[in-house]
């Protein structure tokens, strides 16, 4: 299923770049294209963001459009909601997804409910970019993967790119969307490289997954960092097991069709997502597939994620709890 929108005219060049650069390019292009777009968050200006994702943008667009805030998530998240309701298009950076709890009132009761509660008479074009995931020894309060929370909450669109190309295309769609969109960036992916379209009109529709590699024996639907790891694993297993790898890309809406099509072909499903296993993203994907492709399944669906613990500090402990290609391999071995 090909889902990217590539205009027939205009430059179709791609360039190899990192996820960080792809995200920065998306913001740079959208700031250029629409003067209502502005970036707001802690240290996004001169400092360039703690992961240097917004680096240099303040020099190009000025402090009015790349706004440093006090350390007050509720205040600036709320300001973004009010600004969006009155005609601007804020792109909010929440430094670590773990801090979303600090401003959850403004997200849950204001941003997500505003349009519905007011009978569809307001638009809420807010984009929230935030970082998730472990692997940096940052311990529990800076390593969480919280996307299930927000993908679950009605009124929020939630995406999580697994490639540099997806990072650019999804973020541009998010900024252009008139609905609240959360973009969950895995911080261990910022250095990951890949080909990214340079066309400023390249976008990826929200709500679409992508088959990154075709295969016949088993489907691995992965998110974020686990997409790249699963692709490498599929390469290694080639000739032995034919693995189809899907980058889920969009947590809500969920592209059930692409998943079902794949499972109809392979008969086996592994779900790899770096969030806690209970009641979460894995459960939703499994249920959708059960509802729509039950009789295509030749084996029980397998989940790869974080046992229901927080991310610990010590390298040996952190390595233990974070899912990786070995866990995906073990899951494949259980069912193939």
């Amino acid at each position: 299923m090909s889902t990217e929108s590539m205009p027939s005219s205009g430059p179709s060049d791609t360039e190899e770049m990192t996820v960080r650069e792809a995200i920065r390019l998306a913001m740079q292009e959208e700031l250029n294209l629409d003067e209502d777009v502005f970036i707001v968050g802690e240290d996004v200006g001169e400092f360039g963001g703690v992961f240097e994702v917004t680096s240099g943008l303040v020099d190009e667009f000025g402090e009015d459009r790349v706004r440093d805030t006090p350390i007050s998530e509720a205040g600036f998240m709320g300001a973004a909601v009010g600004a969006a309701a009155t005609g601007t298009r804020p792109v909010v950076e929440i430094m670590f997804a773990d801090f979303l709890g600090v401003c959850s009132e403004q997200i849950i009761n204001q941003m997500a409910k505003n349009r519905y509660m007011f009978g569809g008479k307001t638009e809420m074009p807010v984009t929230v970019r935030t970082t998730e995931g472990g692997g940096m020894g940052a311990a529990s309060q800076h390593s969480g993967t919280l996307h299930t929370w927000f993908a679950h909450f009605p009124g929020i669109i939630a995406v999580a790119p697994g490639t540099p190309r997806a990072a650019k295309g999804l973020l541009k769609s998010a900024i252009r969307s008139d609905d609240p969109v959360f973009v969950f960036e895995n911080k261990a992916m910022y250095e990951q490289t890949g080909d990214v379209p340079l066309d400023e009109d390249f976008t990826i529709p929200l709500g679409t997954a992508n088959v990154e590699r075709e295969g016949d024996d088993v489907t691995v639907v992965a998110t974020q960092r686990l997409v790249g790891e699963s692709l490498e694993l599929a390469d290694k297993l080639a000739g032995e097991t034919s693995v189809e790898v899907i980058d889920l890309r969009s947590l809500y809406p969920l592209d059930t069709d692409t998943l079902v099509e794949s499972v109809d072909k392979t008969g086996r499903l592994i779900i790899a997502d770096e969030s806690p296993l209970s009641y979460g993203t894995h459960a939703e994907i499994a249920t959708r597939v059960m509802e729509n492709a039950f009789f295509s399944l030749d084996a029980p669906i397998q989940r790869v994620g974080v046992a229901d613990v927080h991310i610990p500090f010590s390298p040996t402990l952190e390595e233990e709890v974070l899912p990786d290609a070995d866990d995906v391999k073990a899951a494949i071995d259980r069912v193939v």
């Binding site: 209502d36 006090p70 509720a74 709320g78 909601v81 600004a83 804020p90 519905y116 009978g119 638009e123």
Partner: protein, 344 residues
Amino acid sequence: MVSIDIETESGQKEALRRMLTIRAFDTKAGELFGDGELPGFVHLYIGEEAVGVGACSALEEDDYITSTHRGHGHCIAKGLELEEMMSELYGKANGYCNGKGGSMHIADVDAGMLGANGIVGAGPPLATGAALTSQIKGEDTVALAFFGDGAVAQGQIHESINLAATWDLPAIFLVENNQFGEGTPVEKQHNLQNLSETAEAYNIPGFTVDGMDVTAVYEAVKEARKRALAQDGPTFIEADTYRYRGHFEGDQQPYRTDEDIAIWKENDAIEQFRKRLIDAGTITESEFDEMESEISEQVEAAAKTAKEAKYPDPNEAYDDMFNASVPEINDFAQQMRTDGGEDR
């Protein structure tokens, strides 16, 4: 809305009319709720009319306000229509929010009313955002946040005042100190004598005004608006007022006595303004009576229209979630409706 110039005689009459309209509307809403006509719950603005009308009279049509649980008065002060408001209280399809919001969530963004709010203290961050839009777009508009004394204990209002002060945003923070945060008296909630002292922490001007005097509120907000437009940043205003009714209709109010209420009623905002206008010859007794009965008819008519209006079609429950089409919602809705027992 047509903004009011309270410094002219016609403006004063219009301010009086809006105060009377708020009282009549909320009195009617209280009756209807008591009769079991309205679903949910309602929080009435009776007693506080001078604050909403005084503040909105100092604003222009394009200015924004955010509101509270007690939002009917702010809506009327900002010029919203009685029929659509009353219909929303009934949950009817022709209400301001198509029946999805109810009393606590009436909004009309086109009229600058960014919504009543069911969360105490959630409005000021939104007003800060509306002021941010104004600054980014270079518009000559301001955003005023109405919030209660209870909200001053909420962290997010302090974050938003700090942000607005730091960024010199054209925002006005107006506390309606109606002496109670739900059922708890203000002195049990704050260690400050005057809530306007809060302003000192943010290095912005802070004033306490008589919230039973519509002109005093008007003048304070007018001054704050001037500052905001001169890019001198936000102002914090406390208006001392009194909530005649309970926190919600049906509240048994063990926290105060009828005598407490009577003391404030001696200084009733509408009555003092009415006397002042009659003494000045701006309005005669009979003109006032005529105005009052006209308003009463309008409110009755709005209530009648609302009662007779249609409820939304149940299918509309699945509309308005997103601007974009999200197939899940329709799929799930359909699935929930399908009878069980059928082979898939």
